[in-house]
């Protein structure tokens, strides 16, 4: 690239005027200081609080080590959060990838009205998750079914599928529902979580589609033409050329969607508030209630630190490999 060839000369030149090296650093330093304090400093502070006794309104910095972590892992609610996060993340990512890839491939077939369709698939990204949650809460509001159904249940009644009515986001059932000796929650899939996942997929799958579509458009036509000349079928072209070339996009998408789902908060607050019986609760929601309603600052900090660690496990290798590539 051009920039790597030209840069050393600028650097060499700037050595002559010292202030020319200092000014750029000076200009970026407010941002660096802000990030140092607001990101790293505050994380450090939260980490410290998570190891103290500060679980009432008044700060109490008595050191207790990992006691708060031990306590939250034994907490029914937090165990439910972890279970829910795993289920939500898996279903959500799989759904977004499958739907996004399907739509991208279909849209890539020289479709009339492609722009319009693409805009339709993507518009939920422009909405606040509070808006999305508010709308989907009413779609999945079951009503007094079967007598007086509402939302989806009402549509089911109208098309004669009363048998498929159920409680949606109000159903506390956990499927299959067994509980291992060492856990306080039942495993594995809280049914109420599925409608919420559907709303999240609605919000984010268009974005996944856009990523895949950009990827498909980036594959040179000559490559596909050459394969066609060599007698490859369209399926072979897809499987042997396009799919492998889309792998980096899948990786990016998994990172983006994964960190979204580990942090999901607004959608839960707007759709269920975490209920019924923590069937849709998430760590972010738990932390919020623990701290801002329960005043258990240390416990909430411990939950926040676990969220951070989970996100870091996903993001740090990604950032690191991106950096290696650039150097």
């Amino acid at each position: 690239m051009a920039r790597t060839t030209a840069l050393p000369r600028i650097r060499a030149a700037s050595r002559r005027w010292d202030w020319e090296r200092i000014i750029p650093i000076l200009m970026i330093s407010p941002s660096i200081i802000a990030i140092a304090i607001f990101v790293y400093g505050f994380i450090g502070w939260t980490g410290y609080v998570s190891m103290t006794k500060w679980n009432t309104l008044l700060p109490d910095y008595t050191w207790v080590g990992l006691e708060n972590y031990r306590r939250i892992f034994q907490d029914v609610r937090f165990q439910a959060d972890i279970r829910n996060t795993v289920v939500f993340t898996v279903v959500f990512i799989a759904g977004c990838l499958a739907l996004g890839l399907t739509l991208a491939i279909l849209l890539d077939q020289r479709i009339r009205g492609e722009n319009t369709l693409r805009s339709i698939y993507l518009f939920p990204m422009a909405l606040s998750l509070i808006v999305t949650g508010t709308i989907w809460r009413w779609i999945f509001f079951p009503g007094n079914y079967p007598a007086d159904p509402s939302g989806i249940n009402l549509i089911l009644a109208k098309v004669g599928l009363e048998g498929l009515q159920w409680g949606w986001i109000t159903d506390p059932t956990i499927w299959p529902g067994s509980r291992p000796e060492w856990l306080k929650v039942k495993l594995l899939v809280p049914l109420a979580l599925l409608p919420m996942t559907l709303a999240a997929i609605w919000q984010m799958s268009g974005f996944t589609m856009a990523m895949y579509l950009a990827g498909l458009r980036g594959i040179p036509d000559e490559l596909k033409e050459a394969a066609r000349v060599d007698g490859a079928s369209e399926w072979q072209i897809f499987r042997l050329i396009e799919l492998p070339l889309l792998r980096p996009i899948t990786l990016s998408a998994v990172i983006i969607l994964g960190h979204f789902s580990l942090k999901v908060f607004d959608l839960v607050m707007a759709m269920t508030g975490g209920g019924p019986a923590f069937a849709t609760d998430m760590p972010g929601v738990n932390m919020y209630y623990t701290v801002f309603q329960g005043n258990a600052f240390a416990k909430g900090s411990a939950i926040a630190m676990i969220m951070l660690i989970l996100v870091a496990l996903l993001i740090v290798p990604y950032l690191y490999s991106n950096r290696q590539e650039e150097m």
């Binding site: 920039r3 505050f42 739509l103 479709i111 990204m125 009413w138 109208k158 760590p283 969220m307």
Partner: protein
Amino acid sequence: MIRRLTLTRALVYGVLLAFAIYYLFPLYLVFATSFKRFADVSLSTMWDWPSPISLESFAQAWNGRPEANIRGIGDGFLNSVRMVVPATVISCILGSLNGYVLSKWRFRGSETLFTLILFGMFIPYQSILIPLVRFLQSIQLYATISGLVLVHVVYGIPITTLIFRNYYAGVPNELVEAARIDGANFFRIYRSVLLPLSIPGFVVVAIWQFTQIWNEYLFAVVISSTRAQPATVALQNMGGGQFTEYNVQMAGALIVAAPTLLVYVLLGRYFLRGLLAGAMKG
């Protein structure tokens, strides 16, 4: 052969349209319910198209019912405007400067610094929330619009820096170098070389920040009082039992969604670019 091909085509269009319905039917519900008269609102007719069309729900969503001490989202909406405009402007300026330095004036360790800055974009904000609240309280900015502006600007630094850095990386270094040989300094090069080329970059970042800040909820709910409440919080409070009328909630949802939807419809191309810039490098 031709028959088969057209059948496949039809199938492709069929699937694409079916999914268009999946994305659009929630929007249909919003319109169908929020434009109904109060007299026509009932759960059993929630999917019916409103007739006659009425704006009663919007009036109530905006104003609330002062006599019943129920707040509308009008105040929140105006608070959001007061928050999002300065935050977006400052974010753009900071991001542009940072991107300029990190693409055209690299120094030893600047790449590492950039990576460290980027990490700030991914953290769950729960992990900085408690110190943040204490800090804002100590500088008297807690529960103020200015406090929210500060927070959004600071946590917007990573993404705005990323977008501008990648954008400026596409500006040939030869241009910068030529200006330097002509004796232009750091600011002069920024003003006369980079800035005139930056308009699309500014549009992308402004749209991104506007959308993100407008839609944000966690900071909004934690760092605000009734006085400085943004629209998302007002909407959420409306759903939290004050109003049982779902038509009012839907009208509220549409009011809150309107500004970002408008930006999306008018400037969708740039919106998409911001999205992809956040997702992929370069």
